[in-house]
Amino acid sequence: MPSLIDFRRRIRSVKNTQQITKAMKMVSAAKLRRAQERVIAARPYAKTMRELLANLSSAAASAESAESPWLSRREPKRIDLIMISSDTGLAGAFNSNLLKAALKFYDDHPGAEIFLTLVGRKGRDFFRKRPSNIIADYINVLNRPTYADAAGIAKEVIRRFRDGETDAVHVLNNEFKSVMSSRLSVQQVLPLELEEGSAPVAQDYIYEQEPVAMLEQLIPRYVEVAVFRAMLETVASYQAARMTAMDTASSNAKDVIEALTLHMNRVRQAAITKEIIEVVSGAAAAE
């Protein structure tokens, strides 16, 4: 039976832990707000770009143009996968869900050779221990991702696709949905797939340059934007996951403290009862 002092010690230790998890939750909440603002601020660019791409690709498709490496569709035998995980853990199943999705991606593309570009320490550590083709890994870029970071990451992937070394490029990341939930997103970036419904508004544009030439300039940008957006989404959903995890941890600590306090009081009560019995029986014996 642990003594009173042992209980007090354990309660103090759990309380300390609880304070830490509470603080971490607050930090994540503040970071989440900033991350969300950045996700929103980056939206108009991505939207404008999609609309321009839709216009240009329909123009390029109608124009009798030479085959562009960007628009050619090849059978996806070699695939570049850009996976964005987080650098640190303590965020519940955030990274393990992502890694499961990555393994599923392998299963979904049997016969294809998959090359990995890993952003975030967790993903890198996972795949380093496994037989896999890692082209590049980037860690410590997720604290405050800038567009330049995203462009740097996308550069090699873009070159490989242009030179025909890979047939497709996918981006895998967690997408921010709400504080309580995130969604896994696997997006095919190249070859270009424009969603249905983004049908271009028929515009009779004057093209200052050849549509195909502009498209060739715009597509690498599109890849960079996809990577940038994925990074921002990852940061936001990571902070949300961490906040939720720390909230759960804080309330678990509270439960533990309550249970321990209850036990401690029982032990104290037992000790008091024992003493009373001793006194009473001592007195009875003396009579």
């Binding site: 601020a41 980056a42 660019y45 404008t48 770009m49 800038t146 009779d204 004057i206 200052e208 502009m214």
Partner: protein, 132 residues
């Protein structure tokens, strides 16, 4: 007086979202002046150039570092690879950047990317011009 809806969006944020009366765009093949009612047009932008727009009689300048523009009768949308307000540019820093860029562009060696050096020179020039 009729106006034109000008939007300048950069990758990280939207810089301009306003009704303007006139705008000058640094397109790849030269500056384009746009007034309301312009014909629909799509063009790439110069790697470095200054966008000037007039809002309520006031002229404002913006350094643009490449991108695309879409002009419609009542709107102009600039998809900028990078952009900075003239008023936000530090003049000394811009001058220093220009000096470095000019040197790099002059200096021809096999291991420098000439195209990149020229583009950087244009960007630095745009920054200095917008800051002025």
């Amino acid at each position: 007086m009729s106006t034109l809806h000008l939007q300048v969006v950069g990758p990280e944020r939207m810089l301009v979202d306003e009704q303007v009366s006139e705008v000058q765009i640094p397109a790849n093949d030269g500056y384009i002046g746009v007034l309301p009612g312009h014909a629909a047009l799509l063009s790439a932008l110069k790697p470095g150039g200054v966008l000037t727009y007039v809002i309520a009689g006031q002229t404002r300048k913006l350094a643009l570092y490449g991108g695309f523009v879409e002009v419609l009768a009542t709107s102009a949308r600039v998809l900028a690879d990078g952009a900075e307000f003239g008023s936000e540019i530090n003049k000394e820093k811009a001058q220093a950047r220009l000096a470095v860029a000019a040197k790099a562009a002059d200096h021809i060696s096999p291991d420098t990317d000439q195209q990149a050096a020229q583009d950087e020179l244009l960007r630095a020039q745009a920054a200095v011009e917008a800051a002025a």
